[in-house]
């Protein structure tokens, strides 16, 4: 019998989990999964310092493993120099895990990172450009773009007025995310779902399976290429499309013409007329503009800003691609086969890929086959994806496959902070409802305004189950800790 302890910090909208397995020698194997908080959270520096101090105290200054699921501020900010990097410097850390997408040797990973950088640059250009217009549509679009840029550490409006500062902020997310990978003496491992599950040093009988991200560009981007490979527009040229958009926003913001030569424009430079700079259009064009565009009764039919919706689409696209590259880990206890599932912020494409994964493992003398659905079926702990948003917990090929009667779900979410960021439906009510049904009410939210499960909510459990759950859950202002007999 093994007892695992899972501590979910209640520091704000963001993920920070401390998972401890007992070592054979009586000590504990300490795993930290993410450590971050969203930019709109008050006093982030002090908050994260408190969290990391608690981690240090609980772990006796030593972490055996840190899992960095993905490069988003709300999962990595704690490692930033702005927040608690100094405190982490004082901890000994043995190993850090990243998804294969961060592996410098991986070709697809490099491509995805290049795309991410190009899209981020385009989004920053968009936010800066839109900020210069007072049109309500431009203002609304800018705010939407900003709300997604939050994930990359761009928080306040002042960041916008200076592209350099914004770029630095984005760089900070990356720096925080890469801190451990670059830190001397910390072993870095890039995790692939294709590889055999890993043991934890000094802990017998526990395996870590990597469920995702899949090495499949189509899945990561949620679009399935057709069988005959005819339709490849979207997959092939993300970087250039993003660059072209960035160039357009830069021009729009500066009110400039084609000083840059217009390499991003669809036609040869000589074919376009840039009238903002006083150039006289040819006669036929002048007449056309007078009768259509300049027609005072048809001003509402102009299209100055319609194209800028591309920035919103790009923001959503960047966000879901990044979330799909999340490192998803399942810990399995050999003897009981119970599973702890940490889904990070994985979205549809990542979830779907678990259905096709399988591993051969040796148990005692015999070999057995373990599949993704097996792991879901045996899950007794589920870290709910993406703060309980609707699109980060797959239904039929996900939650519905988690059929273990001991299932417990933890949701790291602060409703107030999510709403402050204009993110609606976090957590998504129908998902919460279904989680409660699946777990017999054993759903725990980090949100300080949401209480631990009430006796009524736990009403469908047997008396002994209820008692066991209540005694296993430690409630503290700073964290919830759940002890699991595995």
């Amino acid at each position: 019998m093994t007892t695992a302890r899972i501590r979910m910090y209640r520091h704000g909208l963001g993920d920070c989990f401390l998972v401890r397995f007992p070592k054979d020698d009586g000590g504990s194997f300490n795993i930290l999964i993410d450590c971050g908080v969203i930019t709109v959270a008050p006093n982030p520096q002090a908050t994260m310092a408190t969290v990391v101090a608690d981690i240090a105290k609980e772990c006796g200054g030593h972490l055996d493993l840190v899992i960095m699921t993905h490069e988003h501020w709300d999962h990595a900010s704690g490692f930033s120099v702005d927040q608690a990097q100094a405190a982490f410097d004082n901890l000994t850390i043995a190993e850090v895990w990243y998804a294969w997408t961060e592996d410098p040797e991986n070709v697809l990973g490099r491509k995805l990172r290049r795309e991410r950088a190009a899209k981020l640059a385009a989004l920053q250009a968009a936010a800066v450009a839109l900020d210069q217009s007072a049109e309500p549509l431009a203002v609304a679009r800018k705010e939407r773009v900003l709300s997604v840029l939050q994930f990359f550490g761009v928080g306040d409006m002042t960041d916008l007025h200076n592209l350099g500062a914004a770029a630095k902020k984005v760089g900070k997310t990356q720096a925080a995310f890469e801190y451990l990978g670059k830190r001397r003496g910390v072993k870095t491992r890039y995790c692939y779902p294709e590889k055999a599950p890993m043991g934890l040093r000094g802990v017998s009988g526990v395996r870590a399976y990597i469920l995702g991200p899949p090495q499949d560009e189509g899945r990561l981007k949620r679009s399935s290429p057709t069988k005959r490979g005819k339709e490849v527009y979207e997959l092939a040229s993300d970087v250039q499309a993003a660059d072209n958009l960035a160039a357009a926003f830069a021009r729009f913001g500066a009110g400039a013409g084609m000083a840059d030569g217009g390499a991003d424009c669809p036609f040869d430079a000589g074919l376009g007329f840039y009238l903002k700079h006083g150039a006289a259009p040819p006669e036929k064009l002048q007449e056309l503009i007078q009768t259509t565009w300049d027609d005072p009764s048809a001003v509402s039919r102009r299209i100055d800003l319609d194209w800028t919706s591309a920035a919103e689409t790009l923001a959503l696209n960047l966000d879901s691609h990044t979330n799909n590259t999340c490192l998803v880990v399942a810990f399995e206890v050999e003897e009981s086969r119970k599973v702890l599932l940490f889904a990070a912020d994985a979205q549809v494409g990542n979830w779907l890929s678990w259905q096709d994964t399988s591993w051969k493992v040796k148990d005692g003398g015999s070999t057995r086959n373990v599949t993704g659905p097996d792991l879901l079926e045996n899950a007794v702990f589920y870290k709910v994806g993406h703060h309980g948003s609707h699109n980060a917990t797959l239904r039929a090929l996900g939650l519905e496959q988690m059929t273990n009667e001991d299932l417990v779900a933890f949701v790291p979410v602060f409703k107030e902070q999510a709403e402050k960021n204009r993110w609606m439906n976090m957590p998504f009510p129908p998902l919460v409802k279904r989680l409660r049904e699946k777990t017999g009410g054993r759903v725990v939210f980090s949100d300080p305004r949401m209480h631990p499960p009430t006796p009524t909510q736990l009403g469908s459990l047997s008396a002994s189950q209820r008692k066991e759950f209540n005694t296993s859950l430690v409630v503290d202002r700073l964290f919830y800790e759940y002890s699991l007999e595995l």
Binding site: A140, R144, S147, V148, T226, K227, E231, V232, Y233, E234, A236, S237, N244, L245, A248, R251, F252, A256, G257, M258, G262, D264, C265, P266, F267, L271, G272, F273, Y274, K276, P281, P282, K284, L285, E287, L288, I289, T292, W293, S300, R301, I303, D304, D306, W307, S309, A310, E312, T313, A315, L316, D319, H390, N391, R422, W423, M424, N425, F428, P430
Partner: protein
Amino acid sequence: MFSPDSTQYYLRPQQANVPPPPARRLRGYAFDPSLSLRLETAAINHLVFEAPWEQDLKPGPIGEYLEVVDYDPASGCWYEPVDLNDVQVVAQDGLAPSEGNPQFHQQMVYAVAMNTIANFEQALGRQVFWSATYDPHLPKGKRDTFVQRLRIYPHALRAANAYYSPNKRALLFGYFQGPSGMVFSCLSHDIVAHETTHALLDGMNRRYIEDNHEDSLAFHEAFADLVALFEHFTFPEVLKHQISQTHGDLHSESLLGELAQEFGEATGRYGALRNAIGEYDDADQWHPIKPDPTRLSREFEPHARGAILVAAVFGAFLAANSARVRDLVRLATAGTGVLPAGNLPPDLVNRLATETSTTARHFLNMCIQALDWCPPVDMTFGDYLRALITADFDMQIEDPNGYRTALIESFRRWGIVPKGLRTLSEEQLRWPFVHKVDHDGWNALTEVVERIRPRISESLYIRDRRVLFALLRDARLETHEHLEAAMSDVSDASQRPHFNRVTGLNIAPTSGLPGMIVNENGIARFEVHALRPALRVTSSRTIKKQLVMILTQTRNLPIDPEHPELGDFEFRGGATLIFDLEGERPSLRYSIVRPIDSGERLEEIRAYWKRRDDQGASLRTTYFGAGLAANLKDEPLCLLHGEG
């Protein structure tokens, strides 16, 4: 193609002994530029469109129906407009197809959009209008203002998207960086025809864009795709090439199906609408998908659902066409019907192509014509089937080519069954003639039509769309006044139930229906949404004079009375009334009703909205939440096309 309603053709007396040209010939891509790069399709990818001849076409082009405005806001620049009346251009069937020449892009969107407009006018037997703008500051009855031209922006967006903007009355086409250079959506025949159809449909009935049913947006998408699809098959050049390519294995059904799907795939997202037509097996062999009657109950996303309607209509087209060309194959094979190996004789290829093109034209006409026989609001696929069958019956009592039978069979196989019908026979499917019991009700209505008849008759001779618009707007006001007078006449109180049954309205002050908007005079507000006089030529060469009248009414109701935070929606009812204008008095032939007091329909729509709320829409909703409703209202088709 030539539209007999081309205004300028009529307005301009022939100046010399030379009649005006029958059409303006313009070169363009039959599909899209990518097919020019493939050896097997390059030969058929260029063709000459025949747009209606517009004498006074201005640089743009700006004509009677369209204005192409080539501003590229992402590049911050304008492109010079093409002058299609330039003698050099006229003399060589327009500019040569070219991706790098913005003037050719303007020509292409103009040619395809005009072609689609001409197809609509031909099928509907009248001139088309774009959706009118509404100005609340004008006096009552004059608030709808005429929009003469649909605006087309060929380079409006820097994205893999294209959409019709109902507010701007404009088509916005995007371009984007593809793997091998820029991809322009305005150069795809499929996309231009599809978007133009959205605009035409919106011009006919603004309510069809309202999303009150799983079928609403799906219908909009599927219909636009069907128009684009059948337009392809009306070009015999394309068909000839493909038929001769098959080297004697004229299994024409799979050939046409595969062709249809390939067109869709070449243009990306439109492929989704054609996926229901067929699939490739492991050996890379195409075969048509077997219709699955249960699929309709599983697909709810507009494109996936629309694909079912596309497959059903297309399946009927294939079956009907194969019956139509069977005799030709027998003739060519000494009665065996078995074609020999090797190339087909060119004569046979030509004849097969011509026949197929004729079938395609008939289906295209049927699909468009049926719009006049559709209910005023909340249309379902089943309604569309009934409209198709009824419209075709009205035009042609016999069904010599079995088109209607083919349609019914195909829809049945796909499980599209109108609600409340016991059998799927043709007589059952046709909308019923207005029932005798409601005699009094329709008496009042024919009275009204009788009164506006002078105006309607006059309208049949007007060619100027602006004048026609004003005349029909006045006729709508007059109709409204007559109806209101008829209904507030106390002596007619006994007629009211009949009247309500025929019109789907309830304008009695005592109706007691919640959410009804009541005027100062105590009568519930209603709208004469459209009056459409039409002259249609039937198969027996007679001219049918018809009047389509659409009456609607609106109630504002909460989506869920117990959860007011979910918001309100507009519940609409009314009727599409079709009058025959022949004879002494006009007679009401069909009344296609969506009763405003139908509790059952109300519950269905509420359930639909709640279901959508539960599904939580998209990532967009999560992040951009509050702005969503406004955004959807502004550009409903932008999101549908961009992220669908």
